[in-house]
Subunit: 207 residues, 2 copies
Amino acid sequence: MPRPRSLTTAGIAAAALAVVERDGLAALSMRAVAAEMGVGTMSLYRYVRGRDELEDLVVDLVLAGVDTAVPPGDPWPARVATLAERARAAVGAHPGVVPLLLTRRHASAGTLRWGEAVVAALADGGFTGEARVIAFRTLMSYVLGAVQVEHLGPLSGPGTAAIAALPAERYPVLADTAAHGRGIAADDEFRRGLAVVLRGLGAADGA
Amino acid sequence: MPRPRSLTTAGIAAAALAVVERDGLAALSMRAVAAEMGVGTMSLYRYVRGRDELEDLVVDLVLAGVDTAVPPGDPWPARVATLAERARAAVGAHPGVVPLLLTRRHASAGTLRWGEAVVAALADGGFTGEARVIAFRTLMSYVLGAVQVEHLGPLSGPGTAAIAALPAERYPVLADTAAHGRGIAADDEFRRGLAVVLRGLGAADGA
DNA sequence: GGGGATAGGCGTACGGTGTACTCGTATCCC
DNA sequence: GGGATACGAGTACACCGTACGCCTATCCCC
């Protein structure tokens, strides 16, 4: 009986992501998204509870692209590695939303699908009970931390250069370490760190 | 010749932290901090470049409390573990600033001191060149991610309960894993996850 | 002791934000 | 064609960060 809806949450999420990619995360606002859709600001409130839910939608959209289907024949460390790298790739495709992912991750259905796939691989590896909990949370912590470290202070960025240039008498080992880090590609860094975690979980080799 | 300064950056940082602890991170504003100090809003700008620098001060204050002196006789994994747990404890003492730590961490002198101590322990463990870089970045990723996972989605919190209650036909392993996670204390979780990473780095036992 | 230079404290104002309230009206069923 | 429904949006308010500029407290020097 009433008039039909003219917007969709998917459309709003896409518009919000477009705003973030064009003008940066700081420019994400109810007004900006409404303008992006050619609609009044308050109209959005018919579809979204408020700004928080808008951010949830963006996170969901980014995470929805992660493929969680994995070759069942692969050994479990390879399956976990594949899932971890896909998650990282999805985030890397939209670097501007990284800060949102950190705080809104738990509200996303995509996170659950990903978690189920990881935990299933761990179960195949013989992890049960609390050991599986620890393994999963450790992997999740590493992936989340690594994505963040990569975007907020990449080895190839000015931060590393600044640390390498620190006075050697105060930070002798750190400055030297930073100097060796300049040449490591972000992909390599993530893969090799993940291999460390997997080895710690008992994987035969570092994937 | 001029009149003396009446505020200090340390005092401003303490006032800002007090605001965050009392009213939450969302309440942190230039106006709120100024009111906390009984001073006009714009007075703060004589001591702080702007809101960003205010946040840097808070992060610095939280991280300044981390003791980076470690018994030189300890084996390297024990030294790294001690440093990691101290960092986690410092953050845990002020949970409200966790989101700030994620984005402002690199601007803090305390982070550098901590990094030097960790990297020195790694050097004692025989890590050199790129292997030391990877080891350090992996540890940093884990610690940062774990702190965040702990505060945004603790095993003892409602998120875990909600996942445990998910339909078993859609999330069979995940729901079961969450059910086993409810009883793990946050301290244990961090320690055991850290042990995984250290084992992956070649430590003899899990510290 | 008095005067002047220096810079600290802050009042005001502007453009931005999220969102509560309200109302006109487009839309579909009968 | 008439009426119920709830959508779209205008307006308004409280709050934010901060640029500008004034008043004045403070200390040095004479």
